[in-house]
């Protein structure tokens, strides 16, 4: 056993696109890095994601999105998390997200964004650093 108390991470796919290959690859990579990964499948509403995060008491949430609806869905996810008192959960995202949207997303509390082609090691390193210093607002990943 690599860690005594593995961190718990939720991998979720909000919205209507069904392309879950990226989400599954990240889930698998995090598993192999010693995380407990809760995988919820496709077509999740913001409420479902926040509910799963609450019931599973996750340390972090990875959102995978390729539909272009991130500017609509992400703020609602953050809001649903806050409604449930989950202020201390790290949220990051992956998928197709235009660079122009990145500053706004970061402002609303998305801590990192990984575009297509990002090595899984980057995500793992990001989570390691977040876990080491969870409180500070830091820039670890470089958006593409």
């Amino acid at each position: 056993m690599a860690q005594r108390h593995p961190l718990r991470v939720l991998i979720a796919k909000p919205g209507l696109d069904g392309h879950d290959r990226g989400a599954k690859i990240i889930a698998r990579a995090l598993r192999d890095a010693g995380y407990e990964v809760i995988y919820t499948g496709i077509r999740q509403t913001p409420e479902m994601i926040a509910e799963a995060a609450l019931q599973e008491d996750v340390d972090a949430i990875g959102l995978s999105i390729l539909s272009g609806a991130h500017m609509t869905l992400f703020p609602r996810i953050i809001e649903e998390l806050r409604k449930r008192g989950l202020h201390d959960v790290t949220v990051w995202a992956g998928g197709i997200i235009p660079a122009a949207d990145v500053p706004k997303l970061r402002e609303m509390g998305i801590r990192a964004i990984f575009g297509p082609g990002s090595p899984t090691a980057e995500t793992i390193e990001f989570l390691r650093q977040m876990n080491a210093e969870p409180a500070a607002d830091q820039s670890v990943a470089t958006p593409r």
Binding site: M1, A2, Q3, H5, P6, R8, A27, R28, L30, R31, D32, A33, G34, Y35, E36, V37, I38, Y39, T40, G41, T45, E47, M48, E51, A52, L54, Q55, E56, D57, K83, R84, G85, L86, H87, D88
Partner: protein, 323 residues
């Protein structure tokens, strides 16, 4: 519910929150218990008196037999009767990396958004037998939270993972057709723990034969106060689930009318006491015998300067002394 329970909240605060119906407190206390926090043990002590009311239903069977789907359907059926449901779903931890993929929620989509259901995934974290180390405690927490029914879904099991029978009041063993000649997947061991046998995917050819084989096997077994029913289901469509819930209710009535309810719970209490002691001793043992000093002690044993028996005696006295 807008509480502001930080991860640093004491288990005491979490326990009061739980009793007041705060789901954030419940979820954080589950994590504290799973992490083996000392104050969580204190909280469990206080909460134990509030438990014992929920009917604990175990669902076990080989990988891919439909445990998660069946669990979802059972939960929906209970919800239709107005009963609240807790679910603990156990999945395996990788023995190589310590990581896990907990994927049971994928098949439980229909339950999301219903505040009457609380579902928690657990990884085995290296424990054999089909359950995680603190599964029983999580069941107790859901019970204390007021859930009427708590369903435990085990990891996909083979033939002798029978821990579930000690954790549940009613154990469902789920089989599916065509898993081998006769009934390889659920023969000895696991067949014996079934209070109810479920033949899932009953729309698949071969289901009738599995039912017939199981029936023969039951007839060959000893006569028991509770004749084990066999229920066919097609979980994905919900077929047979209402009947299954009726069997579960009948089993509960049987347990309560006979002395079996108390005998089972006393047996489970015995195991629980022993498991708690083992767990604490094991954690203490790890603490006590780790570090540079101990590495050199072990080296000196290897060099025959000391013997392992005396050293073990010394450690044992230390463990006993600490309590």
């Amino acid at each position: 519910m807008t509480t502001h329970l930080q991860r640093t909240a004491s288990a005491d605060e979490l326990a009061s929150g739980l009793l007041a119906g705060d789901r954030l407190a419940l979820t954080r206390l589950i994590s504290a218990v799973e992490a083996g926090r000392d104050d969580a043990r204190e909280a469990m002590r206080c909460l134990f008196a509030k438990t014992g009311k929920a009917h604990v239903v175990g669902v076990t069977g080989p990988p891919g037999c439909g445990k998660s789907t069946l669990t979802t359907r059972l939960a929906l059926e209970y919800r239709a009767h107005g009963e609240t449901v807790g679910i603990v779903a156990v999945d395996p931890t990788s023995p190589y990396t310590g990581g896990a993929i907990l994927g049971d929620r994928v098949r439980m989509m229909e339950l999301h958004g219903d505040p009457g259901v609380f579902m928690r995934s657990m990884a085995t974290r290296g424990v054999m037998g089909g359950l995680a180390r603190s599964t029983l405690d999580v069941v107790l927490l859901l019970d204390a939270f007021g859930k009427d029914v708590v369903i435990i879904e085990t990891v996909g099991v083979g033939q002798d993972e029978v821990e579930i029978a000690r954790a549940a009041d009613t154990t469902l063993v789920v089989g599916v057709p065509n898993l081998g000649d006769d009934i390889q997947a659920i023969k000895a061991g696991i067949l014996e723990i079934a209070d109810i046998l479920v033949v899932n995917k009953a729309d698949v050819a071969g289901a009738d034969r599995l039912v017939a084989d199981l029936r023969t096997m039951l007839q060959l077994g000893p006569e028991r106060g509770w004749p084990t029913p066999i229920q066919q289901t097609v979980a994905i469509e919900g077929t047979g689930v209402r009947e299954l819930v009726e069997h579960i209710a009948l089993h509960r009535a049987y347990l309560q009318e006979s002395r079996t309810w108390h005998l089972r719970r006393a047996d489970s209490a015995r195991r629980q006491v022993r498991a708690i002691v083992e767990d604490r001793v094991q954690r203490r043992l790890e603490q006590l015998t780790t570090g540079a000093d101990w590495e050199s002690r072990f080296a000196s044993i290897a060099a025959r300067e000391e013997d392992p028996y005396s050293v073990a005696e010394e450690v044992l006295r230390q463990v006993a002394h600490d309590g």
